[in-house]
Symmetry: C6
Subunit: 266 residues, 6 copies
Amino acid sequence: DCFVNALNEVKPSYGVNEEDLHESILGGILKYSPRIDNILQRVERDIAQLKNSQKFNFSSVLLYGPPASGKTALAAYMALKSKFPFMRMISSDEVIGMSESAKVQYIDNTFRDAYKSPLNLLIVDDIEAIIDYVPIGPRFSSVILRALMTRMKKSPPEAHRLIVLATSSNYRLIKNLDVLNCFNDEIPVNNLSSLNELENVMIETQFGGADTDMPKRVVAKLLEVFPDGKVNIPIKKVLFNIDTSKFSSDPADELVQLTVESNHPQ
Amino acid sequence: DCFVNALNEVKPSYGVNEEDLHESILGGILKYSPRIDNILQRVERDIAQLKNSQKFNFSSVLLYGPPASGKTALAAYMALKSKFPFMRMISSDEVIGMSESAKVQYIDNTFRDAYKSPLNLLIVDDIEAIIDYVPIGPRFSSVILRALMTRMKKSPPEAHRLIVLATSSNYRLIKNLDVLNCFNDEIPVNNLSSLNELENVMIETQFGGADTDMPKRVVAKLLEVFPDGKVNIPIKKVLFNIDTSKFSSDPADELVQLTVESNHPQ
Amino acid sequence: DCFVNALNEVKPSYGVNEEDLHESILGGILKYSPRIDNILQRVERDIAQLKNSQKFNFSSVLLYGPPASGKTALAAYMALKSKFPFMRMISSDEVIGMSESAKVQYIDNTFRDAYKSPLNLLIVDDIEAIIDYVPIGPRFSSVILRALMTRMKKSPPEAHRLIVLATSSNYRLIKNLDVLNCFNDEIPVNNLSSLNELENVMIETQFGGADTDMPKRVVAKLLEVFPDGKVNIPIKKVLFNIDTSKFSSDPADELVQLTVESNHPQ
Amino acid sequence: DCFVNALNEVKPSYGVNEEDLHESILGGILKYSPRIDNILQRVERDIAQLKNSQKFNFSSVLLYGPPASGKTALAAYMALKSKFPFMRMISSDEVIGMSESAKVQYIDNTFRDAYKSPLNLLIVDDIEAIIDYVPIGPRFSSVILRALMTRMKKSPPEAHRLIVLATSSNYRLIKNLDVLNCFNDEIPVNNLSSLNELENVMIETQFGGADTDMPKRVVAKLLEVFPDGKVNIPIKKVLFNIDTSKFSSDPADELVQLTVESNHPQ
Amino acid sequence: DCFVNALNEVKPSYGVNEEDLHESILGGILKYSPRIDNILQRVERDIAQLKNSQKFNFSSVLLYGPPASGKTALAAYMALKSKFPFMRMISSDEVIGMSESAKVQYIDNTFRDAYKSPLNLLIVDDIEAIIDYVPIGPRFSSVILRALMTRMKKSPPEAHRLIVLATSSNYRLIKNLDVLNCFNDEIPVNNLSSLNELENVMIETQFGGADTDMPKRVVAKLLEVFPDGKVNIPIKKVLFNIDTSKFSSDPADELVQLTVESNHPQ
Amino acid sequence: DCFVNALNEVKPSYGVNEEDLHESILGGILKYSPRIDNILQRVERDIAQLKNSQKFNFSSVLLYGPPASGKTALAAYMALKSKFPFMRMISSDEVIGMSESAKVQYIDNTFRDAYKSPLNLLIVDDIEAIIDYVPIGPRFSSVILRALMTRMKKSPPEAHRLIVLATSSNYRLIKNLDVLNCFNDEIPVNNLSSLNELENVMIETQFGGADTDMPKRVVAKLLEVFPDGKVNIPIKKVLFNIDTSKFSSDPADELVQLTVESNHPQ
Ligand SMILES: Nc1ncnc2c1ncn2[C@@H]1O[C@H](COP(=O)(O)OP(=O)(O)OP(=O)(O)O)[C@@H](O)[C@H]1O
Ligand SMILES: Nc1ncnc2c1ncn2[C@@H]1O[C@H](COP(=O)(O)OP(=O)(O)OP(=O)(O)O)[C@@H](O)[C@H]1O
Ligand SMILES: Nc1ncnc2c1ncn2[C@@H]1O[C@H](COP(=O)(O)OP(=O)(O)OP(=O)(O)O)[C@@H](O)[C@H]1O
Ligand SMILES: Nc1ncnc2c1ncn2[C@@H]1O[C@H](COP(=O)(O)OP(=O)(O)OP(=O)(O)O)[C@@H](O)[C@H]1O
Ligand SMILES: Nc1ncnc2c1ncn2[C@@H]1O[C@H](COP(=O)(O)OP(=O)(O)OP(=O)(O)O)[C@@H](O)[C@H]1O
Ligand SMILES: Nc1ncnc2c1ncn2[C@@H]1O[C@H](COP(=O)(O)OP(=O)(O)OP(=O)(O)O)[C@@H](O)[C@H]1O
Ligand SMILES: [Mg+2]
Ligand SMILES: [Mg+2]
Ligand SMILES: [Mg+2]
Ligand SMILES: [Mg+2]
Ligand SMILES: [Mg+2]
Ligand SMILES: [Mg+2]
């Protein structure tokens, strides 16, 4: 745990890193449900308050929901939309191979960087991954967790404003770890819940191309399996299934089958 | 755990650090309930005894209560009021990134600094955070805990007087860790417990501005949800809700809704 | 855990390492059951999608099944068949003697190497072994696991494509560790399940040589022990048994006996 | 755990350190009960045996009882009374910030110092604190514990005599850790157990000053709360309460209230 | 865990180390039961296959049985009989005082050495001891275990052949740790199970010397204690008992008594 | 854990260290029961076998019994009686302050020293203390334990003979840790079990001096408390009690009282 090495491991990091954020929304933000607009508006309100409040120069927001439901994409989208002069993302792939203390240093440095511009936005992506959580044990780095919690509760120095958008796939864990106290707002992100929403995704992604009836046909077939039209599939999986289907001789049929396999009955 | 590095990590720290204390009471100390004055008077008595006692030159006081209930603000307020020549705060954000032994060194050094002036006041803010406590495990640094306990029981050298104001959100933990033995006095800090108290906060913060009836209207609407007028909301959340509401087209309505969402039924 | 040492421990590694892959299929890929072709076609489809998708430049596939059932051989076979310009295997014997942090570095470096060519294929062989899993405790390196999970979810930079073929003998563990979320496709690999399949292996390996009736005779004798013709033996064990039998005076009899001993009743 | 650093951390320590011992009995030794004299006589006998025995040149004595009951003060008082040429106290505040191995070294060195004079007395104050015990886990340093146990059982070299006075607030722990085997004598120290004892303390401390009836009045009022006259309060708390009361307008009333709050019903 | 130190701790080791192997069979290999020949033949067959197989250049065999039953002696005996140009033994006494990582290095180096000759034999003696297993906890080095498992499953490079003979006294542990998958063959070694076998040992060791009836007399007396003639005593204990008896005035009687004391009823 | 430091911490140690052994029997070996002679003879036989055996050049013997029952004194006495050219004692006070790896090195070096003379005797005193055992957890150093076990099972090189005398107060622990397999002989050491034995000790130590009836009087009084004459007191405690009594005005009465207090009812 040599301090000097730890320093070397930590890359200096200043200013906006828009590239990373763009990479997180390569699949776009499809409006397959009114829920999507609700989420976007709620984050927008939180950002507006942070910008304009006369009392508070700090706010932190949690986006939580099942794996692959779109949490990171939504946070990145709103970050880009905020046009804040400083925006960055803390994510687990940046810290692979660092010692625990170097990770803490990295997190702390990134937060301190986020005190330098008048308006700062920080995404803390996938809290579980950042604290090295694994469910067996359970195990996680309590030192990283504590550093994160301390920073996610602490206002920046006067004349600087910071909003933190954090994501997590494990709400219960976040609650049991007493991390909820860090957040001013908690926003749920859900999986696709109906064939109707699935149809919207197919339409928006032009599944079937010229054959514009294909989405309808897929839904019709799926109604045989899901008579109440209720499904539970993450948006990322839906997009992957649609992509896979294109390499099949009968894409509609393939998509039906993949959709059935991907459904998580609740 | 190299000792030399540990030394370098620890910033020297002398004299009063009033700036930090002021930051902790940016939201003021609103007198929304007679409880607030009771707390202030009790701490005042403890400080008076420490100043004037012919037998004891050391005292330590615990302020405990739910998250965001105002513990740190109350301790900081009383510290500033004491006008002691030396006052400082030990808090977790000062020690992020330090090794465990550096944290112990930091705590010990701060206490030793607090032996140098005739009258010294030390805030030990959020014991759980300082000992790196996380509820799953549970985990915490027993080395930091032991250092803290030893210092919080030990009188300073003759001719020096020290009072410690410690805060904690987890009374049960503090008790189970045998830390209660360190304190001469234990003072509970509570959440807002009634719509009446909420009204007081709205009035004191001039919620509604010119529209001075707004607090009353909010309370009236809330009585529909809480017919007995009983709520359980931390002061910090109340102040944040009031701030959020200002960015809505219908602030009263927004505040009603946010208040309902923020209530922790007991 | 000295960083400099860690660096020295990690061998640089570029380009295709076909030799290792060939070593994994010295026993060939015998088509003893239609399941084998199904597996090969499914991996082939996944590789084709990765190559041609306009939306996704990353895919990861899990091959899981009992010990010695042929997971590594099947992954290595498909890798070689892909003719990707970059293909490599991460396996536990490469990292013996490295510190935990050197292993993480090694894994991370290998993934980063796999971002350099337009088409990259990486085998992550035996996840349990790589994370130093042992069932008593249970114990494993959560740091290595987290590094692996982060990399197995992360797309390479634009203009690069990567498919990961991972293998595991412990599906339940992989599921309990939340690793399943990393995979786009999960493919089961099974043991030989019938005397018919065993006969196919004997024929393909020319057991008995000139005496082409020997396979049939072995099966006939085994039917006395397994009247329903159902067995459960890994392919690797079957091949070893056939080899052992050759050193006996009565190979058919010996093989019968070894087969009975090797069967894992379910 | 660098050995060189460990050495530097350990301050050399020779000869009598009477100052520390005096600090431990600033509140005096009040004879509020015949038990106090019994304890003092028993320790006196143990010291006399150690001084004069022809067979044993080593003895170790345990003083145990609830927190703040006066264990350290009693041990320090008897140490000073012994007038041994070498006397010292091992206590947790001396070792804050040392690494575990430095603490062991410190303890061992202090014991070795205590082999140099013909008559040596060592106080091992608060065993739990020295072994870094915390009840959750429970956790403690088994290495420090073992070093302590080994030293507390081992006779000094011939021609040197050593008596160890150890204190502990957790008899059950000491027993469960097999530490009891280290002691030749075990002496209980108790809390004040009756209003009569409380009255004695008030009289000895001249509570009320000229108003010599005040102790009686306090007792009379307390009899209303504790009709059987039984209480359970540590002497240190009693003295603090008396001191606090002096800062009240109605000291008697204040002391009654503080006493009621301080009582630990059994 | 300094890497440089680790290197220095590891002694280079090449070529046959017959001396150590001879030391393991100082008590000879007595043929007290037909089981002994069966074991020797089965290991012989495994060695023959390894030497001659056209498919497999690697094999690993487990000898398991109760403490002192003769596992190490049997493995060493067969190793010497194999006349392989390279043979060595990994045993716990070689690695005392090494750090965990140095042990892993030592094991790995020894295996790599065992890839250098055309025919190599390695004894991995007492797996539990090598992995620092102790039953309370239970505890063991999962890092050493994983290194061992990886090496005991991995074929040497082409043109090299390696057979591993491993021993263990704790079959259940080996099974629970998933180590059984490493072995191609598992051979039980048992304790002496009958007075008849005991008699054979006495005869072979010429117990009684000229008095050739003594074995019979011992058995006769023992039949009174064990009427069914069944015992359960490890061969090493039997040989020690016979040796102890020689220092008694009545060796036969002494042996009877020691035998009764040594028996492990099942 | 620096290897260089570890080396420095370990003092070289050669030849006989009779002084330490004499210190262990300052209280003599009183023949208060025929059991004492039985123990001495049994150890004597074990030493004789080791000296003269033509088959075995190694033996290890366990002396086990309750705390203070005389195990160390008996082992030291027999060691001195053996007149072996090399004899030493491994005990916990020699290794205080060493790191775990230095302790292992120390133990290993002492054993290696014990291979240098033709006849060597090693006392491993208080196995629990050497492995840093504490009952809560339970905790102990599995690395030291494994080193000890390996050495206590391993014969010295040819032409050297070694007998190990180990002591332990916790037979159940030794058994549960699988350490019993290391010993060729296990010898129980017990507490005084009857008033008759106590009388023998009083007589042998000339308790009462000229007043030769005093032992009888003490026993008479004790019979009132223990009507069946059965007690359970360790010899060391008995000797301490006798010594304490001498400092009383009524030694007989004092000894009666101390004896009653010291008794461990079974
Ligand atoms: N309405 C939408 N909301 C979110 N993501 C969308 C939406 N429409 C399309 N997407 C795409 O779906 C993908 C969502 O994946 P993303 O990684 O954001 O999910 P996640 O919940 O963060 O997953 P993980 O639990 O693995 O972190 C992105 O590629 C995104 O561009
Ligand atoms: N009467 C009051 N008592 C305490 N704080 C008040 C009061 N009135 C207004 N406040 C404001 O409310 C906020 C209380 O937040 P504070 O951080 O002190 O709570 P806390 O209990 O320490 O929270 P945490 O559990 O997170 O440590 C401060 O901004 C303070 O200025
Ligand atoms: N159809 C087949 N599928 C897989 N392997 C086959 C097949 N036919 C023959 N083999 C041979 O069987 C052996 C399978 O061993 P392999 O190591 O791949 O199994 P595994 O499941 O990876 O084992 P482990 O659980 O130990 O990792 C290889 O030697 C391979 O060449
Ligand atoms: N009879 C008495 N016995 C002991 N202490 C007394 C007595 N009379 C007055 N005192 C005073 O009471 C205080 C006892 O506190 P002390 O620290 O010795 O208690 P303790 O049991 O060691 O507490 P802790 O459990 O915190 O270690 C001292 O200030 C001492 O001077
Ligand atoms: N038939 C036999 N098989 C094995 N050992 C025998 C046989 N006959 C005599 N011996 C002797 O018995 C002793 C067996 O001891 P060995 O150390 O091999 O047992 P082990 O099972 O390895 O013990 P441990 O469980 O302690 O490792 C050796 O001295 C060996 O020479
Ligand atoms: N017959 C005896 N057997 C053993 N010790 C005796 C005997 N007679 C007198 N003694 C004295 O009793 C004391 C026994 O103490 P010793 O330290 O040997 O006990 P122990 O069992 O090793 O204690 P521990 O459990 O603390 O290690 C020694 O001082 C010894 O001289
Ligand atoms: Mg995400
Ligand atoms: Mg606070
Ligand atoms: Mg495999
Ligand atoms: Mg004390
Ligand atoms: Mg063996
Ligand atoms: Mg002893």
